[in-house]
């Protein structure tokens, strides 16, 4: 296809080269790459901060930094990783690139709004980082009142404003996806023929649209109380500090599903492709995404079992939390069953899929300790919680993101990376991750509270192990940066469909032309028809 022809094929990357053509693009694929650059920068920043935190925790005393700096560091790490990396990661990069392609559309429904989302996100996030770097903020990413609204002496209002602004990009992206998925599916692409990646993004978009306004309002209320002294959360002004926690977790618990659902969507694509099998129980995997999105809005109170919330409220929230665990379990069982009697290829993306299954399973099951009232009373606010949510967010969400990035990289760039290096990095990440966070479960059970820069000496051994693991984890993230960048210049041409995958995105050249398909595809079969003969051409 690309041999000695005088003029190379035009695609979305080589159609124009000017900076202006990137900054004013309305092509969802180019916007996806803009997002990729932005979120990678924030991920790197968040990672460096994590490294500093782990370094300080090597010893029980304060050596590297003192209390004030440490508190600012973990706040910045949390805000950067959650709001500026994890929440946008898969939807804004992979979702942006793939949602139109997977449904056979030329672009998203609102291409200009899509570009606006990226500007809002990048400016909001950049603004926040400037606020955090210049003055710093020490409230933790949770902004609990009345500390944040009255007592903290740091840049709370500016930081909150930045997070507030960034939220709009999330709402706009969600809106764009929902409309696109409803209105722009190719002929024949019925709801139950959609790839599960699309179902996952649909569910995620609903949460973004319904949940994000609540956090925006909450952050605004904190700023109002702090700036103008309007009493909402501070009891000295007639407010209720626990009200903040209700509002905050009403968004922030569903936000966990904003991070993990897209990753689950990636999982379904990877497991099907590298097992060459239709996803076992397609309807149940699709339905469980919707169940998670809906039930996820009803469990926020499990963050508040020791907050002075009523005992009876605690019992209801505990029960609902056990219900939301079931659809996640259903997904894991279905992915595993998909491999049964498959044709399993251990390529790099599939290793990330294995990593996801392993780490997400542990993350999910340790969530039960926190949904259970009596055990939560003991481990709430300790390193057990820290370990649990890193298993979900790093072990789950980031493993899925890495797997997806490796899976669609050839489509996005037209190049292949070294599969051998890819597999080495995936294994290093898995080992490093477990060494970092398994000891933290034990630390939490032993009673070490989170957000401590100094700690009793008997906790040192486990902290040293964790820091050692973080070093390996850091290396595991560095290697892909190198070979992926290398592949851009030296990688083999990927061909249209290097993995032999089904899905409309693989039926168009890599990299795809600006409007994705030369003619609108017509869909005549279900997703993941790996046994049918219509799937064939591979590069």
């Amino acid at each position: 296809m690309t041999d000695a022809a005088p003029e190379p094929r035009k695609h979305y990357l080589n159609c124009e080269y000017s900076v202006r053509s990137w900054l004013l693009t309305t092509d969802h694929k180019r916007i996806a790459l803009l997002y990729l650059v932005s979120i990678s920068a924030f991920f790197m920043l968040g990672g460096i901060l994590a490294g500093l935190l782990r370094l300080e925790l090597l010893t029980p005393q304060a050596d590297l930094v003192q209390a004030e700096t440490y508190n600012k560091l973990f706040t910045m790490h949390g805000i950067t990783m959650i709001f500026f990396f994890l929440i946008p990661s898969i939807p804004a990069v992979l979702g942006n690139f793939l949602v139109p392609m997977m449904i056979g559309a030329r672009d998203l429904a609102f291409p200009k709004i899509n570009l606006l989302s990226w500007y809002v996100y990048t400016l909001g996030a950049g603004f926040t980082v400037v606020a955090m770097v210049t003055g710093g903020v020490d409230t933790g990413w949770t902004f609990y009142t009345p500390y944040s609204s009255t007592y903290a002496n740091t840049n709370v209002i500016l930081t909150a404003l930045g997070v507030f602004i960034t939220g709009f990009s999330s709402i706009l992206t969600g809106l764009n996806f929902v409309v696109t998925i409803h209105k722009m599916r190719a002929p024949g692409l019925t709801w139950f023929r959609l790839p599960l990646f699309i179902w996952a993004h649909y569910a995620t978009s609903l949460i973004m649209i319904l949940g994000t306004p609540v956090i925006a309002i909450t952050i605004l209320l904190v700023a109002l109380e702090r700036g103008l002294g309007i009493g909402i959360f501070d009891p000295n002004l007639g407010g209720d500090p626990v009200l903040f926690q209700h509002l905050f977790w009403f968004y922030s618990h569903p936000a966990v599903y904003i991070m993990i659902l897209p990753s689950m969507g990636v999982m379904s694509e990877l497991v099907a492709c590298f097992s060459r099998k239709r996803i076992f129980g397609y309807n149940f995997v699709a339905g469980s995404s919707m169940a998670i999105a809906i039930l996820g809005f009803l469990v926020w109170g499990h963050h508040m079992f020791v907050s002075s919330q009523s005992m009876y409220a605690g019992i209801i929230f505990s029960l609902l939390s056990f219900l939301v665990a079931v659809p996640s379990a259903v997904k894991v069982f279905n992915w595993t069953a998909t491999m049964y009697k498959g044709s399993i290829a251990l390529r790099t993306p599939m290793l990330y899929a294995f990593g996801f299954v392993g780490l997400f399973t542990i993350g999910g099951l340790t969530g039960l300790f926190l949904a259970t009232l009596a055990t939560d009373v003991h481990v709430h606010g300790t390193y057990f919680v820290v370990a649990h949510f890193h298993y979900i967010m790093v072990g789950g969400a980031i493993m899925g993101y890495m797997g997806g990035l490796h899976f669609w990289w050839p489509k996005m760039t037209g190049r292949l990376y070294s599969d051998a290096w890819g597999r080495v990095a995936a294994v290093i990440l898995f080992v490093g991750f477990n060494l970092t966070f398994l000891p933290q479960f034990v630390l939490g059970f032993l009673g070490m509270p989170r957000r401590y820069h100094v700690y009793p000496p008997e906790f040192q051994m486990l902290n040293v192990l964790s820091t050692a693991g973080a070093t390996i984890l850091g290396l595991g993230y560095l290697i892909p940066v190198l070979y992926l960048l290398w592949s851009l210049f030296k990688g083999q041409p990927a061909g249209d469909n290097p993995w032999g995958a089904t899905g409309l995105e693989w039926q168009t050249p890599s990299p795809p032309p600006t409007f994705n398909f030369d003619k609108t595809p017509v869909v005549t079969e279900e997703a993941y028809a790996y046994d049918s003969s219509s799937e064939g051409h591979r590069g």
């Binding site: 508190n71 020490d138 609990y144 009345p146 500390y147 903290a152 000295n236 500090p241 060459r276 099998k277 076992f280 129980g281 397609y282 020791v306 002075s308 005992m311 505990s318 056990f322 219900l323 079931v326 379990a329 259903v330 595993t336 069953a337 491999m339 049964y340 009697k341 498959g342 044709s343 399993i344 251990l346 294995f354 399973t361 542990i362 099951l365 340790t366 039960l368 300790f369 949904a371 259970t372 009232l373 009596a374 055990t375 939560d376 009373v377 003991h378 709430h380 606010g381 032993l446 009673g447 509270p449 989170r450 957000r451 401590y452 100094v454 009793p456 008997e458 028809a529 790996y530 046994d531």
Partner: protein, 319 residues
Amino acid sequence: MWPQVPQALRLIPEQASTVAGQVDALFLFLVAVTVFFSGLIFLLVLVFAIKYRRRSEAERPKAIHGSLLLEAFWTVVPLGIGLVIFVWGAYLYFVISRPPAAAMEVYVVGKQWMWKLQHPTGQREINELHIPLHRPVKLTMTSEDVIHSFYVPAFRVKADVVPGKYTSVWFEATKAGEYHLFCSEYCGTSHAVMGGRIVAMEPAEYERWLAGGVGEESLPAAGEKLFGRLGCNTCHRSDGSGRGPSLVGKFGRTEKLTSGETIAVDESYLRESILNPQAKIVAGYPPIMPTFKGLVTEDQLVQILAYLKSLKTDGQAKP
């Protein structure tokens, strides 16, 4: 400042309260569930990855669309196990949340960045609490500034300490020793050092410790003085002839309000009535009480509360 624990790498924290063993039993059951299901999934993935590895690029395995029976099975089984854990956890939560009636009461005020504790007999402690073994101890807690959380890992209990209201936590120590006290809700710069120790002592030794304290006034006695000094007793006369209701024997009862609602007279209601008297007026009395906000500290509020709670109707307490 931290007590020495000989074992540098222990896996289970010290069990030093009546609930610790019960919480650990549930915790270990959860560990077993986690290990079993993670192990099952790991094993299946491993076996499938080896057994069904791709042997030729031409392989086209047959599609399996799913199985309703299996879906039902792996929906119902996790749900069933989940519900068992839920009930077990909720039952224990009831035990942990409801202090026994006979508990010894200690008052706790948290502030950035220290714990102030007062025994009913008047002894005050900072970042340290001495308690007798084998006797339930109930802490009634509030904060002067931000939210803190009172956490004793060896007892497996914790509760947030929230400004503007009272929360409580209780425990019964079963083993003499010194245990960590941590603040487990982030509260600002020195959050990590807002801790101390709980010293659990044999009852006799505890009595000696109490006696060794400088002759401090008991909480109710201090509260009674305040009650007079602030002029509370001019309206709240014990014989009910004042402009406000008599407060004798009121604690723990329910009262009818002017709004028609009823309210339980507990620490939070008394606190509110002192700081914001117009909020909930007892039926039959005029809304004339001024606020004492800014006139009493959290420590003094605790003393007044202790006094009001000591006013029994059987005529034992002083009017």
